[in-house]
Structure formats: structure tokens, C-alpha cells
Symmetry: C2
Subunit: 436 residues, 2 copies
Amino acid sequence: IEEERKKEVTALVTDLHPADIAEIMDDLNLEEAKFIYLLLDGEKASDVLIEIDEDDRRRFLKILPPEMIATRFIEYMDSDDAADVVANLDEDVQKEVLNEIEDLEQAGDIIDLLDYEEDSAGGIMAKELVSVNENWNVATCLKEISRQAEEVDEIFYIYVTDNNDKLKGVLSLKKLILNHTNTKVSKIYDPEIQKVYTNTRQEEVAELMDKYDLVAMPVVDEIGRLQGRITFDDVIDFVRDEAEKDYQMVSGIAGDVEPGDNVWEVMRARFPWLLIGLLGGILGAVVLGTHEESLQKVTELAFFIPLIAAMAGNVGVQSSSIVVQSIASGVKDIETPARKIIKEISIAVLTASIFAVLIFCYNYFVSGNMNLTYSVSISLFIVILFASLFGTVIPLILNRFKIDPALATGPFITTTNDVLGMMIYLTISGMFFNLV
Amino acid sequence: IEEERKKEVTALVTDLHPADIAEIMDDLNLEEAKFIYLLLDGEKASDVLIEIDEDDRRRFLKILPPEMIATRFIEYMDSDDAADVVANLDEDVQKEVLNEIEDLEQAGDIIDLLDYEEDSAGGIMAKELVSVNENWNVATCLKEISRQAEEVDEIFYIYVTDNNDKLKGVLSLKKLILNHTNTKVSKIYDPEIQKVYTNTRQEEVAELMDKYDLVAMPVVDEIGRLQGRITFDDVIDFVRDEAEKDYQMVSGIAGDVEPGDNVWEVMRARFPWLLIGLLGGILGAVVLGTHEESLQKVTELAFFIPLIAAMAGNVGVQSSSIVVQSIASGVKDIETPARKIIKEISIAVLTASIFAVLIFCYNYFVSGNMNLTYSVSISLFIVILFASLFGTVIPLILNRFKIDPALATGPFITTTNDVLGMMIYLTISGMFFNLV
């Protein structure tokens, strides 16, 4: 693309949607990307900047002077996106950029937003919204809305406040159009409104917006004054990111892996859990080593090592995943930890019994060695019980200590249960063969 | 709740949001639920019906006469929800219900929607939308919109069509309010509009709406005539459901497990994959059985069985998860299957080398048995290579044959790789100890 033929590139690029331009940017190097940015007009350039990857954005902003960031990008952005971009900068650059913003109100909004916790409603909301006073009539509203609408990308809902800025309810554009111009707002607005507080956690915001199918959710402060709004696109991104994180965790991948990533990036994400697997394997070898005598005398014992390990691993992953998912579902969760554990124990006892019987039947008819038959069955029973309990309790404990419970899914739980399973299996079979 | 004190219950329930009522319903039995339904007015009753679980809904509709379904529920619903409900009914009941609907236009819409594939844009869109002709002026538009808006819950966008009903662009309510009443629509609408076709797959619809942050997406037929629209709430549900399905698959859980489920429901979801694990374990025992002689002579070989199995399993799950996720991300996917495989092989060779060296060092310093040291290292190298390749190729093949590639994650790939790993390990070590 890069033959400095400015006009052609400009013509080509300006017709595209920002999201598409951002995708093209991903494949360019820093200098090429900068070249294209400078061709775009302010509005579009800032839209593209929001769409690109966080890492790429950080790298890109590093090569730009603070003044340019402020005047060419920040000033065209909504406050929530602007705050995200500013939060990405180094602290000294942050200050410079904020000072370069000409619109003082916008700079103030950004500073307000930076104060909120990143994962709270305050941290993801935008200050831009359309609100009307309950005492106005429809005609005044339309005029006011026209004025306010210039700063807001999409209106979605019109929020109704009282004289103290307290949120009273919501008014749909539809209602506004359907009513006569001298009707008072207080007569037609809907006072039943879902709202969240600036310190509400974003999981809960997402849950509520999903449950009530809301395009936007108003955010109020402790005494009910309207502070901002959160729109559905933030929620979709959040829902998707959370789901991907849990998925990757259970698959043993640390960090975000995307289709375009190179070999090193993928390696880095996969290595940690594999290393844990290796250490678990070595620990397993040590455990088996302490029972060398049993294994030497009854070689058949070794045959069932993979079976015990696999069942322990699978049961553990299932249990932990179910717990993690029910913790993640948050608001909906009606089961106490105690009830979760009791339910899991019932399931574990049933599962363990069924599989113990199945493997008993297999060994009874195939192997003929009764000591082996008994010890494999009994071990499997106990191993499944332990693995279930472990898989359930560890995420609950992590959650108690505010550590992401998803850490205890996937390879972690598999490895722990593998080693535990070996110990149980060899101890029990040792007892059966009177070798201990 | 159930003391037949109708008035009290009615007062209590009518103030709640449909989504909240649906949650309460979940805890009641069928008769109690029916009792509450009959207390609600039509609009609310049908909203609640849409919110409850699909299984519960099916059971509930079975005990109602077709005429009541049509007049008390369907008539108050948007066409997409109505079509979902009708699709849930038995075929003969479907016909009766459709005949009972008084509004023939609505009945026609439902029949149209039932014809589309369930997972296509046509299958999830609603017929209700607000559209205006490009030749109208703003005043006419406002009048028309008021009329059409009565049937539409939320307007979001106003679609602009030509005289042949072909979609030309979009008009925001904001623009409409900001412009003078005699301005022509053709002058102010935005012709750059994202649209999908009735046969576009819903994955792609979700991807596009997410990428372009759209609240609603218009759906057109093959020749561009406006047919309906898909709203963001359908997409959030879809994104969440897909993510949960993949997560549960990789955790070895078949079917949807929810916090409120009883022991049997959870058992049923977990049993299939555990059974596969058991069969894999038995197969592993058989494989080890065929190498009984080696194991008898060199007991230490058995020590590394868990290590080989664990590494094979973990590497396989990682590879398959990455492939499945990149397939699921659909539109964004810029890598061809061939490039995926090449990249995976590079990663596999690197990973395999690193871990082969690590385990070589461990054994070299700890075990002292050089034959064992060599055979474990070389086996691990080959096992990691195989496991990566397997984890990558099997989902790609399933995807080719239009089978959900997620089937090949989690326990399936772990089990396969366990058994394969055992075979490789014992064959190679057999060669080293000259026992074959």
C-alpha cells in the first residue's frame, strides 16, 4: 500500500468503516500505521484508535507527541473511550495530554472517570447521555435533546431527572414522538427504571443488562444523581472476554491467544501450564518410585495407572468447571457454597459407585486376579470422590480469597488429581497385596 | 404463595419485571405457574413466557388449550418470539394455534419465519421494524413512524427503502429530530449500512454486529428487499450460549448444566465423557498389557507413565482449544487450515524440544539409568509432536464435515492422546531396552 501515493490511499481508506481500517492496521508496521492515521480526519482516526488492539494502541501512542494525542484523537472521543486511552499512557504523558485538551469540560469528565475502579460501573460508563428535566414539556425536550444529541453518538434512551439531577425515570424517543408538544414530561415518563451505582461491579452490570435486555444502563452515585451510562457494546465485549478467559484457562492457556499471533506469543501462553504438567508428572514418578516394590511384584498394577489418572483428571475438571461457571454467573446464583458441596458429594458418590462397578466387572471377567480387581475398583471409587471434592472446594476457596477461581480449572486440577490419584491407588493396592 | 388469594398475588406480581417473574416461576410447579399466568394481563404474561426456560415453556404449553395459547400469548408477542413459541409446539397443535390467531398478518409473519433455518438470520429476525420511503419528507416520516411504532417495542434505527421495498440506508431518530419537517428523507439518510441476508449464518450476524457495535441489523432477501431485523439481545444470548457450550465441551460436560439443576440432570451431563475416559483407560490397560514383559524387567518404565499421559493430554487440549476458538471466531479468521497446521508444527517442535531436554536433565541427574533417560526423553518429544498434530487436525477435519469441532476438545482429545502416548512410549522404550 505504501508508495506515498497519499491521495489514492486516502480515497481508499476513508470509505471504510473504522472497524475495517483497524483490521488492516493490524497487519501494518508502526510507521505505516502512523502514515495512514495522519491521512484520516479526526473523527475517523479516533474511531479507528478505539477499535485496534490494546497492545498495538499502547505501542502506537508511544510514538506520538502528547499534543497530537490530545488534539487529533482525544477531543473527538466519547469520555469513556478517551479515559481508556488516557489510562493506557504513562503517568507523565497522561498529565501532558490532559493539559493539552482544549475542552475543559471534557478534560474534567476524563479525570472523573479515571478515578473509578477499572472494573466498576463508573470505570466503564460514558459521561455523554441525553437527559431532560421532569418539569419540561415535550417541545422543550425536543429542543434540548437536539442540543445535547450533538455530543452523543446514539441516544437509545432519554433519562429524566428532577431539579437535583436525581434520576427519576426514562422516556423513550417513541413516546416523545407520539405525544403532543405541550405534554409535560412528568406525565409520560416511565418511573420503573433499572439503574446501577458507580461502584457496582461490571459482572453485575452485564448480568442485569442481559437479563432485562437493555441497550443502555444509567449509572447513579450514592444519592441517586445521574452520572453516566453504559451501552450494550461494552457489555457484549465484556461477556465475550470473560467467556474466552475461562475457556482458555480450562484449556491450559495463560493469556489471550488470537488467530494472528505468532509462534512466540502462542508459546508463551502455553508454556506455563505445560511446565506445571511436567512437574506434576515428575512428582507422579517420585510417588510411583516409592512403591517400586509393589509394581515389581505385581506388574499388572501398572496397567491401570492411566485409567486412574484419566478418571481423576476428568472428574476434577468437570467439577471445577461447574463450580467456576456457577460462581461466574453471579447474581443468578442461588446455591450457597455448602449446598454446592453437598450436591457435589451426592453426585460424586453416585458416579464413583457406577464406575467402580463397571471396572470391577471388566477386571472380574478379564483379569481374573481378584486382589487386582478389588484394589482397582476400590481405588477408583475413592479417587473419584477425592477428585470431585477437590475440584469443587479449591475454586470456592480461591473465590473466598478474591483470587480468580478459574485458575483452579484445567491443567492445575488435572495435575493435582493425577498425583493424588496415584498415591491413593498405590496405597490401597499395596494394602491388598500385603506389601506395605 | 398459593392460598388462592388472587388479589394479593396479582398486586405483588404485576409490579415485577417479566424477567423477575420468570425467575420466580422456575421455582413453582406447573399448576402454580399456570395459576399465576392467568392472573397476569396478556402483554405481561407473554413477556414472562418468553423469559422462561425453553424446557419449562414446552411443558407449560402442553397443558394449555391451543385457543388460549393463540389469544392470550401469541397475539401479544413480536413475530420472532411468537415463531419460537410456535416452533416449540407439536405439529398438530401448531396448526390449531396458527388458525386461532385473529390477526392474519401476524399469522402470516409467523409462518414466514418458521420457514427459515433455525440458525440463519431469517430464523432469528423479527418482522416488526420501522421503515420509511426515501421519497417522503420528515413530517410524513414522523407521522408514519408514530403509526408503525405501536407494533415495535424499541425503534433503534429507521430503515429507508425505495418504492420496491429495497433497503437503501438508515436514518437515525436523532437526525430526524434535528432536521426540518419538509426536508426529504433521501437528503439526510445514511446510505452506508451493514445488512445481512436471510440465509446468513447467525455466527456471522453476531460477529458483524459485535464488530460494528450495532444495536440492530437489517435482514434482506436475495434481491435486497427489507425482510426484518435482528436486535442486540438475540446476539448477546447467542454469544453467551456459544461460549458456554464450548466451555462445557472442553470441561467434558455434555449439555447445559445450570446452578439450579438437580443431581440427576448434572449426572446425565457428566456421565458420557467419563464413560469415554473409562474406555480410554481400559484401552490403555490393554496397551500396557501387551508390553507386560518390558514393564516386568524395567519397573522404572512405569514411573513415567503418568508424566507421558499428562503431557500428551495437556498439549492436545491446548492445541484443540486454540483451533476450535479460531474456527469459532469465524469472519475474523485470516489463517488457512494449512497455515494453522504449519504454525502448530513449529510450536510443537519447539515445545517438544524444550520439555524433552528438561526431562532428560532430570533423569540424567536423578535416575542414572541411561537407557531410561534416553527413552523417556525421546518418547516425550514424539508424544508432544503427535498430540499437537492430533489436537489441531481432528477439529479441522470435523469442521470440514460440518460437525461441531468443539466435540474434539477436552476429554476426547485427552483420552485419545493418553492411549496414543502409552503406545509410543512403550514401543520406543522397548526398542531401547532391546526387548521387542
